[in-house]
Symmetry: C2
Subunit: 409 residues, 2 copies
């Protein structure tokens, strides 16, 4: 597997584009994106678990049922959530506009939105600009970049990746873009992720591979514990690579190669999102090993990564491991405090701070140096079993408060 450039336009037969249509009124930034496959696709998607779902989520859930999505239209600046019947009409209109422009069935279009909740959706701005949006489609990296910039909100970095693998002797590509900075918590929260691939694969197989990859990546990501109303991951596969179709066989090497590559792509994007968490200065990876099972490991790691007190300690480079143990203690998973070890690690080294639930003497100076890096790891060993999991989060900073204390205005 090798990383390549081009994002969602890297796989054969995909175009992308992005424009400014004025949904973000006061901003000069792009706010409307389109990703499109020239050929029919197999498709799969996953959505927020929040009971309050944006209209676009409800609509795309309907459309994905057919497994044939081949275009995504997405906007930033307005979430089209808590907008009632008018919001639902706007989401349907958005799908129709894209379908008409691309000569597709509206059921082949996924609609995604991100932005403020509870503000009427300005569908006329999309109506007035759908032609310009279609004309912005390109098959190169610029098309990808224009689309990506149109889905960013408080993101400060672009989240993008593309890889090439070989299946059946044919080069197969996977490309992806994502947005997500705040309102992020396991089970997919204000994040959008659009993935393209030229692999030949059945929709059902694609769906199961996507679920597996999301479970190990985006669902192990936490920024602020808030699960949003709009999250969506969509993958479209258009068969242009010409490989023999990937079958549902976990033992098969085609399946494994593709599955591993998709997991790699999703984990890379999840880490980028954690690192770019609102106000974050550090990517914090919490790894639990020796748990009774993988689910316990994940639950415990999430609890530590989500704790405001652990997150502020990371910000302050304070080796306050007591807060880590405390956060494990209130997680809904079993472990034995008296067997628990904790270490901190970064490129500056590794230091053990707790052994069998008790303090070990350590150099505060060394710990501070380790925790002052922009990527740090909290390693927790439970000695109970073989379950392990890593969760990605970030520190809690002044800037998080600043960004979110005045978001709407």
């Amino acid at each position: 597997m090798k990383e390549i450039s081009g994002g969602v336009c890297a796989p054969k037969g995909f175009l992308a584009g992005g424009i400014r249509c004025g949904i973000k009124e006061s901003s000069p930034k792009n706010d409307l994106a389109l990703v499109y496959s020239q050929k029919p696709c197999a498709a799969a998607a996953m959505f927020t678990q929040n009971k309050v779902k944006a209209a676009c989520v409800t609509l795309t859930q309907e459309n994905i049922a057919g497994g044939k999505i081949r275009a995504v239209i997405a906007n930033s600046g307005n979430a089209n959530a808590c907008t009632g019947d008018d919001g639902m009409k706007a989401a349907r209109r958005m799908a129709h506009l894209a379908a008409d422009a691309l000569s597709l069935d509206p059921k082949e279009v996924a609609v995604a939105s991100t932005g403020v909740i509870g503000v009427a959706f300005p569908i006329t701005k999309i109506e007035n600009n759908i032609g310009v949006l279609k004309d912005s489609l390109r098959s190169d990296g610029q098309g990808h970049s224009d689309a990506l910039s149109a889905i960013m909100t408080t993101d400060t970095r672009k989240k993008e990746i593309a890889v090439e693998i070989s299946i059946d002797g044919k080069p197969v590509r996977i490309g992806a873009m994502a947005k997500g900075s705040g309102m992020i918590h396991p089970n997919m929260a204000t994040m959008l992720c659009f993935i393209t691939t030229d692999a030949a694969i059945e929709a059902g197989v694609l769906d199961s591979i996507l679920r597996r990859a999301v479970k190990k990546s985006f669902n192990r990501l936490t920024v602020d514990g808030d699960t949003s109303t709009n999250d969506m991951v969509v993958i479209m596969a258009n068969s242009e690579a010409g490989n023999r179709s990937i079958k549902s066989n976990e033992e098969g090497s085609d399946f494994k190669i593709f599955s591993d590559a998709l997991e790699y792509v999703c984990i890379a994007l999840a880490r980028m999102m954690a690192r770019d968490g609102e106000g974050a200065t550090k990517l914090v990876t919490v790894t639990v090993t020796g748990a009774a099972d993988e689910q316990s490991a994940e639950t415990l790691a999430k609890s530590a990564a989500s704790s405001n007190l652990v997150k502020t300690a990371c910000f302050g480079a304070d080796a306050n491991w007591g807060r880590v143990l405390c956060a494990l203690g209130y997680a809904k998973a079993d472990f034995t405090p008296e067997k628990t070890d904790v270490s901190f690690k970064s490129r500056q080294g590794e230091i053990q701070v707790c052994k069998n639930g008790q303090p070990v003497s350590f150099s505060e100076e060394t710990a501070k140096k380790i925790l002052s890096c922009d990527e740090i790891e909290i390693l927790i060993s439970l000695k109970d079993g073989k379950g392990e999991a890593s969760v990605w989060g970030c520190d809690l900073t002044y800037d998080y408060v600043k960004i979110n204390g005045d978001y709407r205005s």
Copy 2:
């Protein structure tokens, strides 16, 4: 019922005192407290649900089983948590030292600690000062104040209250002190609360009344979602008021008068803690009405009060009700988004911002004015049933990050 002064020393027969013994090394503040009843008591207590429990919690859980606690020794500056066998020995020693000084059985002593986790407990500082501590005992408000100042950590305000009620024609008093500022979340988190009363009441009855009051007060409090290792509420009743003993009869007026008064005391302290949440500038009360049942109302209210995004919006006086709906949506309780109303309220007035899950037009200026008060309410009406609950929380501010980014040093 009337409020009176004197705190835990208001009820007859109780003494309190506090000194500095040096556990908080660099601080001139008190760090060791004692509360003592001259007569035997019926007692009840509740403790943290965290799996990682401080040694003092384990010890006091043992001692309260007898229902006869009549003294509490408490320190700040060291939580005696994650301190292994030595920590447990230190907690036992602390009970023995207090018992010897007061000529009690060690099983009549509750031990409480608060402060940093995972640092060896400096028991010799208590050994060296137990006589001074005993000599600090007083029966007046000064004794109460000295003790209260010794259990405070990042608290910026004293949490204290005393009330007088009439039972059986006799004046009966309840006095209380509490500490708690950070690491606070429903199910009792880094909070200590010591309550005294001169009521005559059986230990079993006292226990059930305490559980009821805590459920409606401290367990509906959230500052940062972190449940601590050390939480403890202890109530001691010494019968000095001379009333006929309160029986376990929810219909009985004695029971109801005492129960209501204890609930009043606990809710008052819970509100004081929320208001003094680390870095908080505002007390935020979230009230859910019309839920399917009381438990659903509490779960939903807690979710909104705990959301970092709702908390930062409160800090910024931003009427971002979409975040409120979003937080309800990921709570583990049912409701119908399309029937949900949201209003904001304070002494500046009340304004509806969401009706049936959709925006209503409102004056941003008025909303800002309402949300700029230091006590604000978020009112959520679900129209599903008769369940209702209020939860107390606070805003999330720069100072929360500052206080917790560098706690240990």
